[in-house]
Symmetry: C2
């Protein structure tokens, strides 16, 4: 079967799940046609260094440098600096690798020199030989804060230090209302032929992006179909606390409730084969859905899921208006 | 022979040569009696991090963590972060090791939090289990600048990047006139029973310390004998550009000219056996001198030189006034 070139593809992305889908998309879409708008709500400062975990995960994955086991950091990295910081009494639960430190040192000094996160990310993307355009959702600081039974935690404190155990009462995105979309974000949404919501946590990866003024509206108005990939497989995410967060917030962790979070903008949903029973409920909500094995353990599976997404987008775009 | 406890010993120190003498002094003087006043004129900022090369060399040496071959950095350290910075196009001629980075990250963030270099150094000394008191000469910034035939260079640019090849026209210590001695520096000089000028470069290690207002005067007025160890062996330093600097500035690199730089404060000089021919000229200038093998390649040699220094100090202190 000859596939039509999909044209420009823009992806809203969090960390690992998004990176795995992007690995597949990069295999089937020319790099120049692929733009990623990345969550920066879980950016944080460790030891004075500006860390952008989702940008880094995507950057490293697309550069072929990511650690396949951990889902974060660089393959084969060492942890000598962070272990030495422990000798000085520093908290070192956020594990920064030695090679990884270079990324944060570069970002931090460039920011101190007045450059924008988007400019810095573009330079880092180029330096690592990545052709895909990686855009932070905003150059302005947005910080996801988790209100838990144990008090207010930064996202990294909640996820890494507390291992997502405290029950979540509310999630706030400090600064999001004043944040402006980074240069290129709104055009990348408006001009896309396919818009994709990556299989990322809806509350802490996708919601901050959608919260940046203008982004959600641009997605609603976009001519292109908006296709999400569910991060849930049988009621659980591959990684992270999405299911616990959904439950904490009174929501069942299933594709129908996930789709409900995007109901104003979603045209199609790719979900895992194990969740096929939700297809009728989705179609009843006028969401075109397709199932596949969404566990992207290998590059080949990433490519297959990417193709399924593009196929569904094509189906939505060419379907007669209902 | 039973040796009298020397009492409080205060050392003016640069980097490697000083560290090797201190290793010996720490073996014969109780740590609580030993204070080091360290040059900070070659401190610099790399990748946003405050690096204090002389403090670090002394700290690491006294902690038993220094690299014996290189004379800087930590034994067995790796260089993954700095090599990764090169991928982002950064200049990486100043080699910061991965474990070493922790020292600079800690210092930089503590300074950003408003703490003084002396307070930070005290915390780092304690953290690495060093009992000797390490005092930066000042908490205020002093920067040694080398005016060369190839223009104005920071000291690290001159020494590390240009490998001390450009001929030196002048050396300036920016900020030194406004610098205040760090807390404890003047009392450590006033209350010492023995004052030692380490075998360090007189222009870029010792001169900045002596340039801090109050320090040189305190040494001149001190009751204790001031003993220097010559960094020259047969007209050359063990490490660094002291001889080239002396020549560039029109001075022969020998112990007599070295002693001339400290003539207003010096009581005694320990020099290498190979320079024994300078003994008469020194004695003629009323400088008590002693020779030994000053090449401190082993801890045992460091101890022997330290003992020679203390012995000479004792001889000076107990000599009848001439």
């Amino acid at each position: 079967m000859k596939r039509a070139r999909p044209g420009k593809v823009t992806v809203l992305a969090g960390g690992v799940g998004a990176a795995r889908l992007l690995r597949g998309l990069a295999a089937v879409v020319p790099a120049r046609d692929l733009t990623v708008v990345v969550n920066t709500g879980d950016d944080d400062v460790f030891h004075g260094l500006h860390v952008s975990p989702d940008i880094d995960t995507i950057l490293y994955t697309l550069a072929g440098l990511s650690d396949p086991g951990r889902g974060w950091g660089l393959r084969g990295d060492t942890f000598h600096a962070i272990d030495a910081l422990a000798r000085y009494g520093r908290e070192t639960w956020f594990r920064l690798g030695d090679r990884d430190l270079a990324t944060h040192l570069y970002r931090t000094t460039e920011r101190a020199a007045g450059r924008r996160l988007s400019t810095i990310t573009e330079a880092q993307t180029r330096a690592l030989g990545v052709g895909v355009r990686i855009l932070p959702m905003s150059d302005d600081p947005v910080r996801t804060v988790i209100e838990t039974a144990r008090g207010r935690l930064s996202f990294q404190e909640y996820l890494v230090r507390e291992r997502a155990r405290p029950s979540v009462r509310a999630i706030r995105y400090h600064g999001v209302r004043k944040a402006r979309p980074a240069p290129g974000v709104l055009p990348a949404i408006r001009n896309a032929r396919v818009l994709i919501v990556a299989p990322s946590n809806p509350f802490v990866s996708i919601a901050p992006i959608l919260g940046v003024p203008g982004v959600r509206d641009a997605l609603r108005r976009a001519a292109a179909p908006v296709i999400a990939v569910s991060p849930l497989i049988g009621g659980r995410p591959v990684k992270g606390p999405a299911d616990r967060m959904m439950r904490s917030l009174g929501m069942r962790p299933d594709p129908v409730h996930l789709a409900g979070l995007y109901s104003d903008l979603l045209d199609g949903l790719v979900l895992d084969d194990t969740d096929a029973r939700f297809l009728p409920a989705l179609e009843a909500r006028r969401i075109r859905a397709a199932t596949t094995n969404t566990l992207m353990k290998t590059p080949a599976r990433s490519t297959a899921v990417a193709q399924e997404v593009l196929h569904l987008a094509h189906a939505v775009a060419t379907a007669p208006a209902s």
